[in-house]
């Protein structure tokens, strides 16, 4: 649904987005990750047709954004970063305006407002003026505006920013549910959000895509990914160390005693061998007659990956 090819945006001499390419299909939720100023919002503004790219191409549902903007924009629902609303209107008035701008009329508008109001928990404030709403409500009002026409493509710039933990949870569930039938791209700097919601994630730093994969694939790039931790009782440190080091699939092994039991951290020789390693460790324990109290394979952590990919630049930038 969304195809982005070699997208570049320059503000004067500064290149905010540098040759970004990706696609998002129907049924996919793409998480767009990156530190502040990485170029997430700028990319989204080009996808939604708010600003024209310096070079490169965006197409939505087969419509090129610069050649054929209107049909492309019809397919898109957009929640800008600051969740702006017309504050001199009531929530109902604002949603009704958005629906009319989307070409809806009459009864359809009322039905659409009811639908999004219940999805975004706005029923209680429909006839309240937007400028009397708390930040969370305003944010959800703008979210509601973005889905009023049940769009096939959703572009959400930090959709959970400024919400309390319960609201964050609700919005994530909502995105996840909608993601079954739509192509969704949303930006965030909350990593747990990516794991909870996305089918795929892109990490962007200083305008350039530095990683692109499923959350699991990205996590596997973490230093500790594939590390096996065990807790054993009934053996000695030396015996355990000897046995585990001897395993075909094991790399570095650290063993220490912890009270009555022994804990070990075994690095796989190669990342791909992580699964086998865990099995081998289990087998080794039962062969030696040790009691396996705990066995756990590290998946790796997204924040670790995120930091290792983007930190060096952040440090450089603040220098």
């Amino acid at each position: 649904m969304i195809i982005v090819e070699n997208l570049v945006k320059e503000f004067g001499p500064k290149r905010a987005v540098n040759s970004v390419s990706f696609t998002v299909n129907r049924g996919e939720i793409l998480g767009f990750l990156g530190p502040n100023g990485a170029g997430k919002s700028t990319t989204m503004r080009m996808i939604t047709g708010y600003i024209p790219p310096t070079s490169g191409r965006v197409s939505v549902g087969g419509n090129d954004l610069s050649e054929n903007p209107i049909p492309a924009k019809k397919l898109i629902g957009y929640l800008p970063e600051s969740a702006p609303c017309y504050s001199d209107m009531t929530v109902h008035g604002f949603l009704s305006f958005a629906a009319e701008m989307r070409g809806m009329r009459g009864r359809t508008i009322q039905d659409a407002i009811q639908r999004v109001a219940s999805l975004c928990f706005l029923e209680g404030v429909l006839h309240q003026s937007v400028d009397t709403l708390s930040k969370g409500y305003r944010h959800r009002t703008c979210f509601a505006q973005s889905i009023i026409h049940d769009p096939e493509v959703l572009v959400l710039d930090e959709p959970t920013d400024g919400l309390d933990p319960n609201q964050k949870h609700e919005v994530r569930q909502l995105i996840k549910r909608m993601g079954e039938k739509k192509a969704i791209i949303f930006s965030t700097h909350i990593l747990e959000e990516v794991e909870a919601v996305c089918s795929r994630a892109i990490i962007i730093d200083r305008g350039t895509v530095v990683a692109n994969g499923t959350p699991a694939e990205l996590k596997a790039r973490s230093e500790n990914a594939g590390l096996v931790r065990v807790r054993i009782s009934g053996g000695t440190v030396d015996a355990v160390k000897g046995k585990l080091t001897g395993l075909m699939t094991a790399g570095r092994v650290q063993v220490q005693s912890e009270g009555a039991s022994i804990t070990a951290r075994i690095q796989p020789r190669e990342r791909a061998l992580a699964g086998e390693l865990a099995r081998a460790v289990g087998d080794a324990a039962s062969q030696s007659g040790w009691k396996l109290e705990e066995l756990h394979t590290e998946e790796g952590r997204l924040d670790e990956v995120f930091r290792s990919i983007t930190l060096p630049d952040t440090v450089k930038r603040t220098e």
Partner: protein
């Protein structure tokens, strides 16, 4: 114009208009407009002393000056507020053409100004009660005043697209409209003829609203004057489109 376009324009105009009337500012504006009109017409304009059944001098002659401040005040927020709050990003990502939004906003404000102008009708009643005025001339005066307001408004629409600060937009607009007055205001042109040849002075004056409004004020409807106001409006709204595109491209 396609029916889609006119629907978009009307949706936007409707939103802006309800924005005016949902806030007390609109009513304050209208009251001030009417009070000033009354004050100028009956006190400064010497309506009763003139002893003629005409609105040209006592009523319409003040409008270029009255509008100089009131029209920028009525239009200064049109785009600057969208920019400040960020709703511009919503508006321009809806499936509409930018010129539809520009026109919608302009029309809404123009309707608002027309309502304010229309509410001066008691002046017409008064003059009708006191004598037998030339109704055609009065209608021409109203048409001229409406067009004059439209020209100032179009300038304000353009200046409000330039900045996210309403006050800056107001000041810029007042300055430009002031030049549109001065270039052809008699006291200024009388001064200018001492320094420059007549043709130059006339050329400069032809860019001013004054000679064109003056004709309407005297009850003369000339196609050239209509064209003048139409071109100021079209030029300014077109300029607004260029500014908005520049904003996003920068």
């Amino acid at each position: 114009m396609s029916s889609d376009s006119s629907r978009h324009i009307w949706t936007i105009a409707k939103r802006e208009l309800s924005g005016y009337f949902n806030s007390p500012v609109a009513y304050v504006f209208i009251v001030i407009f009417l009070l000033l009109n009354g004050f100028f017409t009956f006190m400064l304009g010497g309506f009763f002393e003139l002893g003629e059944a005409s609105l040209s001098k006592p009523f319409f002659s003040w409008h270029p000056w009255l509008y100089l401040f009131l029209v920028p005040a009525a239009g200064m927020r049109l785009w600057s507020e969208e920019r400040r709050v960020g709703t511009l990003e919503l508006l321009l990502t809806y499936p509409i053409a930018p010129w539809e939004a520009i026109l919608g906003k302009f029309i809404a404000s123009w309707i608002f100004l027309a309502i304010a102008l229309g509410l001066t009708f008691p002046v017409v009643l008064t003059v009708g009660y006191l004598g037998s005025p030339d109704l055609g001339a009065i209608l021409a005066g109203y048409l001229g005043s409406f067009l004059l307001a439209g020209a100032y408004l179009a300038v304000t629409v353009m200046t409000s697209a330039l900045t996210r600060n309403q006050v800056v937009s107001f000041i810029l607009s007042v300055v430009i409209c002031f030049f549109l007055i001065l270039a052809g205001w008699e006291p200024v042109t009388n001064l200018l003829v001492r320094w420059a040849p007549d043709t130059i002075v006339n050329l400069v004056a032809s860019f001013s609203v004054m000679p064109h409004f003056g004709n309407f004020q005297r009850g003369v409807v000339d196609l050239r004057d209509l064209l003048f106001f139409a071109s100021v409006i079209v030029f300014s709204l077109f300029g607004t489109g260029v500014i908005l595109r520049g904003l996003r491209g920068a």
